[in-house]
Symmetry: C2
Subunit: 415 residues, 2 copies
Amino acid sequence: MALIVQKYGGTSMGSIERIEKVAERVIRTVKAGNDVVVTVSAMSGETNRLIALANDITNKPSPRELDVIMATGEQVSTALLAIALEKRGQAAVSYAGWQIAIHTDNVHTKARIKSIDDQKIFTQLKRGKVVIVAGFQGVTDHGNITTLGRGGSDTTAVALAAALKAEECQIYTDVDGVYTTDPRIEPKARKLERITFEEMLEMASLGSKVLQIRSVEFAGKYKVPLRVLSSFEEEGQETAGTLISLEEENQVESAIITGIAFSRDEAQINVLDVPDEPGVAYKILGPVGDANINVDMIVQNISVKDKKTDLTFTVPRGDCEQAVEIVQGKLQEIGGGASVSGSPIAKVSLVGVGMRSHSAVASKMFKTLADEGINIRIITTSEIKISVGIDEKYLELAVRSLHDAFELDKPAKVF
Amino acid sequence: MALIVQKYGGTSMGSIERIEKVAERVIRTVKAGNDVVVTVSAMSGETNRLIALANDITNKPSPRELDVIMATGEQVSTALLAIALEKRGQAAVSYAGWQIAIHTDNVHTKARIKSIDDQKIFTQLKRGKVVIVAGFQGVTDHGNITTLGRGGSDTTAVALAAALKAEECQIYTDVDGVYTTDPRIEPKARKLERITFEEMLEMASLGSKVLQIRSVEFAGKYKVPLRVLSSFEEEGQETAGTLISLEEENQVESAIITGIAFSRDEAQINVLDVPDEPGVAYKILGPVGDANINVDMIVQNISVKDKKTDLTFTVPRGDCEQAVEIVQGKLQEIGGGASVSGSPIAKVSLVGVGMRSHSAVASKMFKTLADEGINIRIITTSEIKISVGIDEKYLELAVRSLHDAFELDKPAKVF
C-alpha cells in the first residue's frame, strides 16, 4: 500500500462538475490500493475575486488581512471535495492549513513552510479516510494565517509528500505533462516521460509555467518524485504525464537536450566604453540589484581598446527603463566616456543534463541559428543550459529550428 | 473608557461601500473614547452562495464540511473591515473563531458557545487596535470549525460582550430599533426606546425578526445590555435605537403593553369528544411532540357532556397535516367517537411586563376585538403576554385596533 499525495489546481477545481471528476479520480487512486492525501487550490477565478474585494478598498491592503481573505478560497475547495467524496461513499475529511498544522514563517502573502505536523493526517488515513488539505496556506507561530504566494499549492503538495514520505507527489493540472517546448510555437513538441529536477527548474524559470519553481526546488531537495498529470483526461484514457525525479532515475531517456525554454520578457542593457578595471561590474550592477531588479545574463567583453570595455546584461523587460536610469546616474562615478542603452530581447535556452559531457551542443546551436540568419546578441551557459539572447522577431523561428536540429520530436535520441 | 461590542449584520456589510461606512462608524465610536470589539456577518448573500455550492453536489452535505465552507463568509468580512479601518489610520486586527478562540460544542451547523478566551482581545485592545471577530463561528475541542446557525453572529456578539464584561452590546442592522408592532401593518407603530429581555423574547419568537432569539436569552442570562441600531443612518442623523435590558432598568417607560406581536404561520387542531379522563391530553400530544412538531397553544374545554371534552391546540402551519394524521392514528386508542380536524389560524399577542399587575388587559383586549366583530378561537396567557388565535383575514384589523386601543403610538402612557 503506497501513500500518494495529489494536488489539483484551480482549473481542475474550476466548477462543481470538475470537482466531481476530481472526486472520481481520487476514488480510483484509493481503489488501486493507495492511501491518498489531496491538496487543492481555490476554484479558478476565486483568488482573483477575493483580491479584488480587498483592492476595492485600497490598492495596498495589509498583507496579514489579505492572507485572511485569500485563504478562504482553498478552504471552500477542500470541503467541496470532501462532500463530493462522501456522496460517493468515500470517507474524507478536510483541513485548513492551521488545522494540520502547516507551520510557516511570518512573511505574509509569500510565506515559506517551516514544518508540517503529520499526526492528524496519519490518524485519519488509518481510519480509511481521504485527507484533503487546503493548499497555498499555513499558520505562523502566533496563530496568524499565511499564504505561500501564487502557485503555492504546488509547494504545499510537495511539502506534504516530503513530510509524509509519500511514494509520489502527483500534480494535476490542465496540461498532460512537460513538453520539449511550448506546443503553441512548435506543434511537433513532444511530451517528456521523465525530466530531472535540475532540468525542470531551468524549464520552469525560463517560461514553462507548469509548476511553481519553489515546489520543484523543494521536491529536488527532499527527493520527492513529482509527476505532472492532466485532470482533464477521461477514465480509461489517462496518460502517465511527466515524472520529475533525480538524474540517476532518469537513465532510460538519456537525450543530450531535454527541452527548449524561452522567454519574451527580457531586455538587454549595454554599457559601452567603461574602464576595464577591477570593480567596475560591481559599481554598475550593485545599484541595479539594490533596486530589487533581477539581473539575469551578464557578459563583459574582452578589453580591446584604451583599457575600455563593454558590459552587457539582461533584466526583466518591465524593469529596463528603471535600470537604464540607475546606470546613467552612476556613469560619472564609473568614469568618463561611458554610455548606456536598453533594448527588448528574447531569450531561448537549450536545457538538458546530457550536455554536461557534450561540448558540441553549443556549436551546433550557434550553427543552427546562423543558418537561419539569426544574430546572437548575448550568450550565457550553465552546466545544463545554454541561453542566447536574440531579436524577439526571431523567437519562433529559433525555437522551431533548434527543435528540429536536436530532433526533440523523437524520443531519447542520443545526438 | 468603556468597552463596546458592536455587531454588523449581512446588509450592513453588504458591499465594499457599506463596509467603508461601517469602518467610519467604528472609528467614531473609538474617537468617543471607547475600546471597540466588532463582530461581523458574511456579506449579504454570501452564506447562501456558499451553501448553494455544497448543495450543487448533494442536498445532504456533511454538516462538518458545510461548516468549513460557511465559516469563510465571515472570515472574509472581518479582514475587509480591518483593511477599511487601516486605510483610515485606525489600527485593527481580524480573527476567525478558532483564533480567539470561541469554544463550542460539536453540533455542526448549530453549535453552542461554551466559552471564549479573552486574552488575545485584551492584548490587542491595549495596543490601541480595534479587534474584529468573525461572527457565527467557533471551534470544537478537536479543532473542527463549527457554525452557530442562522443569525448566530448576534449570539457571538452577546457572548463576546458577556465574556469581556462590555458596557453595551450594539447590534447594527437595517432597521433602527424595535417597534410596538410591524410598521408595514400599522403605520402608527412607534419605535421603543427600551424593552426588557423578557418582552423582546416574546416579540422575537412571535415574529419580530430583529434579533436571533438565542442571543436575547443569552443577553438576559448574562445581563448584557443590548442595543438595536441602524447602520444605515448617516453621521449626525443617528438615533439611539432600542435598548434591551433588565426590567429594573426600564422604569422610565412603564407602559402596561409594550408591543403587539403576531404570526400567520399557525394552524389550529380540534380534537372533539375525547374522554374526559386523566392522561388523555398526553395520549394526544405525546405522539405529536415525538414527531418533532412544536405544539404552542393548548386548551382543554371543561367537560360538559357524557364525560367527553374537546382538546384544541396549535402547531406551525406546515406541520398541520402531519399532526392531524398522527392524532387520527391514535383516535381508536383514545376512545370511540372522537374526531379531529385542522384549520389555518393567525395569532396576535399583546406583550408587556406591565400587564403582570393589570388583569384588566385581557378584558380590554377581548372587548376591542369583539367591537370589531373578530371571533376569538383560542386564548393563552403568560405572565407578560396574552395571545389569541383568530381567523387570518382579521389579522391586520386586529393589530391596528389593539394598537389604537392601547395607545401604543403614544410613549409611556399608563393605561
